[in-house]
């Protein structure tokens, strides 16, 4: 009997844990029996609206007209260039010719997904539909579509194909029970975007290249200051096996605007 009681107890415990786990997971999703929550409806943070870039990081490269990189006598690139280019990447960067880009109609090489967020300007973020977040830039008049479902189209253009998801973490959250409480999948508030199928472009407007094999991973976070100022932070990792020795990391920020003031669409410029 004692043995049977133990078995009953174990069974009940296991059943309870399973039930509780499913409840915990369900608790983060839509109402039981309802349709799955769309990415738009389940957005943990508000990213839509107008945002203006605050040009602080890499100010020289972003704000001033692009100038050709040079090798210093020590063999390093001049001007504090921090892009971890490999030898092939350096060779391509040194050969930058904006006139050639203009002649071939490729003035937008610096406005591809791997650099467009670094361009001084404004973003207009809207939901195109329940599954797609749209980012328009006034600099270069570019449009990025961040698909929470499968990216559409073949890619191969400046903005490539972007797969979006709300970042989640697993957590044990019922007080006092630790693992007994089950695993809850919770949204952190970050938007993760992975972009590939890119047309080769520039990481900086002065011809520092990225290739078609580039995979761009971005995290979008919203930071609200005590005074209500709201910023959009974009942390970017560029993985390019062709031109980079290691992943290239940057972070860029924008300040929230409450209207479209300053929105000034301008075409791409090679210099």
């Amino acid at each position: 009997m004692i043995c049977n009681k133990r078995r009953v107890g174990l069974f009940l415990r296991a059943t309870t844990i399973l039930a509780l786990t499913s409840v915990c997971v369900l608790a983060q999703g839509p109402a039981p029996g309802g349709p799955p929550e769309s990415p738009k409806a389940g957005a943990p943070v508000e990213m839509t609206g107008y945002w203006v870039s605050v040009v602080v990081e890499d100010w020289k490269y972003r704000m001033l007209p692009p100038t050709k990189v040079e090798l210093t006598p020590a063999g390093f690139f001049s001007g504090g260039l921090g892009v971890p280019l490999n030898a092939e990447g350096q060779k391509v960067a040194l050969a930058w010719d904006p006139a050639k880009d203009e002649a071939t109609g490729e003035q937008c090489r610096g406005y591809g997904a791997a650099n467009i967020m670094r361009m001084p300007g404004r973003l207009h973020i809207t939901w195109q539909d329940e599954q797609t977040l749209k980012i328009e830039t006034d600099a270069g008049r570019q449009t990025r579509l961040l698909h929470f479902d499968a990216p559409k189209g073949p890619g191969g253009d400046w903005q490539g194909g972007s797969q979006a998801s709300w970042e989640t973490v697993a957590a044990f959250r019922v007080p006092g029970l630790g693992a007994l409480s089950g695993v809850a999948i919770e949204k952190t508030g970050s938007l993760k975007v992975v972009t590939d199928k890119l047309k080769p472009g520039y990481l900086l407007r002065n011809g520092v290249p990225y290739s078609a094999k580039t995979v761009l991973t971005e995290y979008y976070d919203v930071a609200i200051e005590p005074d209500g100022d709201t910023y959009l932070l974009i942390t970017t990792t560029v993985d390019d096996p062709v031109y980079l020795q290691q992943p290239y990391l940057t972070a860029t920020h924008f300040k929230k605007q409450y209207d479209a003031s300053g929105w000034n669409p301008t075409p791409c410029a090679a210099r």
Binding site: V23, M63, L64, T188, T235
Partner: protein, 625 residues
């Protein structure tokens, strides 16, 4: 069966709570989000690669929202300033610390019994910056507390974002080319972890040197292996032998020889490299296309603008709420704030020794607070000057005190017939001590006898072993007056400076009472001759100023630098034959006015400039003509 039933009951309770679990939002607890940033990290300099550690060319300020004062301060900065003893080991502030190369370590401190998060500690290898981010909800210290390079930080979690609020920062670098942040700056940081990276986003507000918030991102990457290098020894030395302490390397306004060096090298318009809020706005790129207009605007930015001078934007650290506030300094010494000038109180087995007596408006409350700190009455009051802010409470504090060393002594029975105050009954009165000129000036002002120090000294040093430590009074001739003293508590390692050092305004150099600008600079250097720092120009000898917040050596050095630099500017103009009005109009204090300036009140910027001008003129026989 009882066990099974119990478990079923527990299960029901759990399901009930799980039913409410939908309300259990991520990061519901502000002290713990479930995200952990503990571990070893390092800065990755893919962006802003030119600005790691001490890099940054002279006059490369693009993207920093400097106001006029900040820009002028940076342009006056000479890289040789780093050879000055107090600047050699200066610590790294926030957010500059995130540019430091080397290794970072973050770790949690938890209550061993409740496991609640108390603090997140941060260690940055370069400069050995030690930060504590308090997560237990404690308040920030009062405005009159000391500042450090790391400041005082509190934090909260919100989802996956750790928000850190930092106050009580010292004046430090925003960039290693002289771009400053002031001690009034505050910083809000957001640390967001994504896998093995932390994005650090900081927003600094500095009413003294910035015209807009300075927002900035940095990226830390995880170190998989515990790095071997964690230490950073710094000890100052004699880098320029025989250079007088009063010589602070600086460029006069408009005379920085490297003004255009960076702009020319990069082919950048000067206006852009001079920084300012506009340089962070996208529209600025278009503005730079008009080279002639931008050049004209730039040239207007390299010297003080004309017109009314800026005023201090610093909140007075004195609460001025009719109460006396007590702050433990260190050792046996406390600082009392609230009754005019600050009062330093030393306690121990003997009677309390006070440095200064305040304005006298709240003397009863001062006496009450001292009685909480000391089981013995006030025995000595040392006046650092004759000024009312420091001697106004002499009579009341003296009367409430008792000098136990006098009964039965020769002095105890020497009261002449008709004597008043201390002289009437010295044993039942605290002994008032000061340099002799204080007595002379107070007698000349016909102040009551019980306010006037009876125990005076003439030589440069008076000493007294009291409450278990040596207490030394050093006469500082012709500083802000001709009767100034500083008081050093040797074991406690505290110096009370009187008005020689005042964190709230330019020094009140009273020429009519014997003050001189050179004497003031010398006095500040004398203070610095007696100080030491504990770690990278933080702590060590603590300084109780005549007014304002608790300080240390580095704060005094910045104050000394300021007066020396203003002195140099006024002297250069004086040598060139400028009149007082011309000197005032030139704005020789323009980079310090947002910190110390005033256009009204008892001590204005104009009065300070006039004091410097006149003092210099009087010091040179040739200029007196």
């Amino acid at each position: 069966m009882r066990k099974i039933s119990g478990f079923i009951a527990l299960t029901a309770a759990l399901l009930t709570s799980a039913g409410a679990y939908g309300q259990f939002q991520f990061g519901a607890s502000s002290e713990n989000s479930g995200i952990d940033i503990s571990g070893d990290w390092s800065y990755i300099g893919h962006q802003d690669a030119a600005y790691t550690t001490a890099f940054g060319a002279i006059a490369d300020y693009g993207g920093i929202p400097l106001n006029e004062a900040g820009r002028l301060f940076a342009l006056a900065w000479d890289a040789s300033r780093q050879t000055v003893r107090q600047h050699q080991c200066a610590g790294y502030g926030v957010p500059y610390v995130y540019f430091s190369p080397g290794n970072y370590r973050f770790w949690e401190e938890r209550d061993p019994y409740t496991q609640k998060l108390i603090a997140i500690h941060m260690w940055f290898q370069t400069s050995e910056v030690r930060r504590t981010v308090w997560m237990d909800g404690r308040p920030h210290p009062p405005a009159y507390a000391a500042h450090t390079f790391a400041g005082f930080s509190t934090g909260t979690w919100d989802r996956n974002v750790l928000t850190i609020t930092t106050t009580h920062l010292k004046q430090a670098w925003l960039r290693g080319n002289g771009v400053p942040n002031s001690d009034e700056a505050t910083v809000v940081e957001k640390l967001v972890r994504h896998g093995d990276r932390i994005t650090v986003f900081t927003v600094m507000k500095d009413p003294v040197f910035l015209d807009e918030p300075y927002s900035k991102t940095m990226i830390n990457i995880r170190s998989i292996k515990d790095p071997t290098a964690w230490l950073y020894a710094c000890e100052d030395g004699e880098e320029i032998v025989n250079r007088p302490d009063e010589k602070i390397p600086n460029y006069l306004f408009g005379k920085n020889p490297f003004l255009r060096e960076y702009a020319d090298k990069e082919g950048a318009p000067l206006l852009g490299t001079l920084g300012g809020g506009q340089t962070t706005h996208p529209e600025f790129a278009a503005k730079l296309k008009n080279r002639a207009a931008s050049e004209a605007e730039a040239m207007a930015e390299v010297a003080p603008s004309r017109g009314p001078r800026q005023e201090s934007r610093v909140v007075n650290p004195d609460p001025n709420d009719g109460e006396i506030h007590v702050l433990k300094v260190q050792g046996n010494v406390y600082m009392l704030v609230g009754d005019g000038g600050n009062i330093a109180v030393q306690v121990g087995d003997e009677g309390a020794l006070l440095v200064d007596a305040g304005a006298g408006k709240l003397s009863d409350k001062v006496i009450a607070e001292v009685s909480k700190l000391s089981r013995h009455p006030i025995q000595f009051v040392v006046n650092t000057s004759f000024r009312a802010d420091h001697t106004g409470g002499n009579a009341k504090l003296g009367a409430a005190g008792e000098d136990a060393s006098l009964p039965g002594s020769f002095f105890g029975g020497q009261a002449p017939v008709g004597a008043t105050g201390f002289f009437q009954d010295p044993a039942h009165h605290a002994t008032l001590i000061a340099q002799n000129n204080v007595l002379i000036r107070m007698e000349a002002a016909k102040l009551p006898n019980d306010m006037i120090p009876a125990d005076t000294y003439l030589e440069k040093r008076r000493r007294k072993y009291h409450n278990g430590e040596l207490v030394e009074m050093f006469y500082q001739p012709n500083a802000v007056t001709d009767g100034d003293s500083i008081v050093q508590f040797r074991r406690s390692d505290v110096i009370a400076t009187g008005d020689i050092y005042d964190t709230t305004r330019y020094p009140v150099i009273d020429l009519k009472s014997g003050g001189t600008v050179q004497g003031e600079i010398d006095a500040l250097n004398n203070i610095l001759d007696k100080t030491g720092f504990e770690h990278d120009e933080d702590g060590g000898t603590m300084i109780v100023p005549g007014r304002g917040r608790l300080s240390d050596e580095y704060d005094v050095a910045e104050y000394r630098d300021m007066i020396s630099i203003v002195r140099d500017r006024v002297k250069a103009m004086l040598d060139a034959g400028a009149t007082l009005e011309q000197v005032k109009a030139a704005g020789p204090t323009a980079d310090y006015d947002t910190r110390f300036g005033a256009n009204s009140g008892p001590w204005t910027t104009d009065m300070f400039v006039e004091a410097v001008y006149t003092s210099l003129k009087q010091s040179s026989p040739a200029r007196r003509k």
